[in-house]
């Protein structure tokens, strides 16, 4: 007696009411039909060409069980044994289909083989598509080196994770192959067969010849890129620590006789460091000009040296702007430390294509070429930082003639 349907509920395999894997029983429950009818239809389709068996196995793999258990395929995925089981099942299925074909219980080569290939390919693609959905994982701890200023890339959200690319590509290949096999077996490819054959032969030959070089090239690029990213991250970390912690420690030494000033410096540095460790830099301000003015005010307050700021034009803050402000701040700190208390000047010109910042002081000056290699202030926090963000820094200075730091960045 047919059960009443449950159209409002998702399709599930009915293990308790089923005979093998509960596929027919589950479909029957869902649509309110007699499972025996489905079993007869599937049995007949299996005997005449084997398509019923293919459909049943796919449903077994893809449809979840009642009670919330994932589909068989999903439970197998990610395990080392999955490929063994998959290969073994495929060979057994192939063996059965070949036997059916030999006995004459066969629908048509032009249908069964393409259906088999397309089914396998579609299962792989669906599997990877499902597994690339955002997993419900526990929230990760806050990254030590988060980059909140990096813009979100909507295209990244559409990309499959790297481990899923291989199976998805195999699946797509199987579906395309199924289409080609179908066309070929039905003589639809006859006019283009010679051309396609020649192209395929050439492509296969070229692939076999070039594959080792290509693989080596890709691996080399990946390794080089990873090393470059690591190196830049290290440089950014070193520059930040230099600009914040090391500079504060130097000020603490300088003001060791003033406990209140030392306590203020320590509190300020602690707040800044905690904010950075918690995943972000201190709010740099909304615009480039206001950020430069804020940086100048902070240096002026911390070091007790007057700073004149002139900013022409303005632009919204971005990653390059933040790097420019950080480099200008470091130049201001250097000027405040070495200018002997004289006024420091900051001049900024923000254009549509480029931004230029000049930091001048009337201090004793120095020979830029004579700066030791281990001094990070100039080398990493100014030159290195500007270079990493596509800009440049030039220091005009000589002993007794003051110093001008020129910072230029293209927008």
């Amino acid at each position: 007696m047919p059960a009443s349907g449950r159209p409002d509920q998702p399709l599930r395999r009915d293990i308790d009411g089923g005979i093998v894997a509960g596929v027919c029983s589950g479909i029957a429950k869902r649509y309110g039909i007699d499972p025996i009818i489905l079993r007869v239809v599937l049995g007949a389709a299996t005997l005449v060409g084997g398509t019923g068996l293919i459909v049943y196995l796919l449903a077994w793999a893809l449809v979840p069980e009642e009670g919330g258990r994932s589909p068989s395929w999903a439970r197998l995925a990610g395990r080392r044994e999955t490929w063994l089981i998959l290969s073994g099942s495929t060979m057994l299925l192939l063996s059965l289909l070949l036997l059916l074909r030999e006995w004459g219980l066969w629908f048509s080569d032009a249908v069964v083989w393409p259906v088999l290939l397309a089914g396998g390919g579609a299962a792989l693609i669906w599997r990877q598509s499902a597994s690339s959905a955002p997993p419900a994982e526990p929230e990760a701890p806050a990254p030590v080196r988060a980059r909140p200023d990096r813009p979100a890339d909507p295209v990244r959200a559409l990309r499959l994770p790297t481990p899923a690319l291989g199976p998805a590509a195999i699946g797509a290949g199987l579906v395309v192959a199924a289409g080609l096999v179908f066309l070929w077996l039905n003589d639809a490819l006859a006019p283009a067969r010679d051309v396609i054959l020649a192209v395929v032969v050439v492509v296969v030959a070229l692939t076999l010849i070039l594959a080792p070089w290509w693989l080596r090239l890709v691996r080399g690029f990946d390794a080089e890129r990873a090393e470059r990213i690591r190196s830049q991250e290290r440089a950014e970390l070193a520059a930040h620590l230099h600009d914040s912690v090391l500079q504060t420690l130097a000020l603490v030494q300088k003001r060791a006789d003033d406990p209140r000033a030392v306590a203020n410096l320590a509190r300020h540095q602690e707040r800044e460091l905690r904010a950075w460790l918690d995943g972000g830099r201190p709010d740099p301000g909304e615009s480039l000009a206001s950020s430069l003015e804020a940086a100048a005010a902070e240096v002026e307050e911390t070091h007790g040296v007057p700073i004149d700021v002139v900013a022409v034009g303005d632009a919204p803050m971005d990653e390059r702007g933040a790097a420019l402000v950080a480099a200008a701040r470091e130049a201001l700190v250097n000027a405040a430390k070495f200018a002997g208390g004289a006024t420091v000047q900051l001049y900024a010109e923000v254009g549509e294509d480029r931004t230029e910042v000049f930091v001048r002081d009337r201090g004793p000056g120095f020979d830029p070429d004579a700066v030791p290699e281990d001094r990070r202030g100039l080398r990493e926090s100014i030159y290195g930082r500007m270079g990493r963000h596509g800009g440049r820094a030039v220091v005009h200075s000589s002993p007794g003639a003051g110093t001008e730091v020129e910072l230029v960045i293209e927008r």
């Binding site: 089981i85 073994g88 063996s95 070949l98 074909r101």
Partner: protein, 60 residues
């Protein structure tokens, strides 16, 4: 001391043994083994061994 049976070895032994019996019967002329039957038999043999290895690994 009782030793757990190695399921993969048992399946592999049975599969290869069955294949050997088929070939032997073909040699003696009792059956005529054509390519249309040999290929599925070999595939089934290898498939059964792989499946057994995979399922055994899942349990382990």
């Amino acid at each position: 001391m009782k030793r757990d049976a190695d399921r993969v070895s048992i399946v592999a032994g049975l599969a290869v043994g069955g294949l050997g019996v088929l070939l032997l019967l073909d040699q003696t002329g009792l059956i005529e083994l054509r390519f249309g039957y040999t290929l599925p038999a070999i595939l089934a043999c290898v498939g059964a061994i792989l499946l057994a290895a995979g399922l055994d690994g899942r349990r382990g």
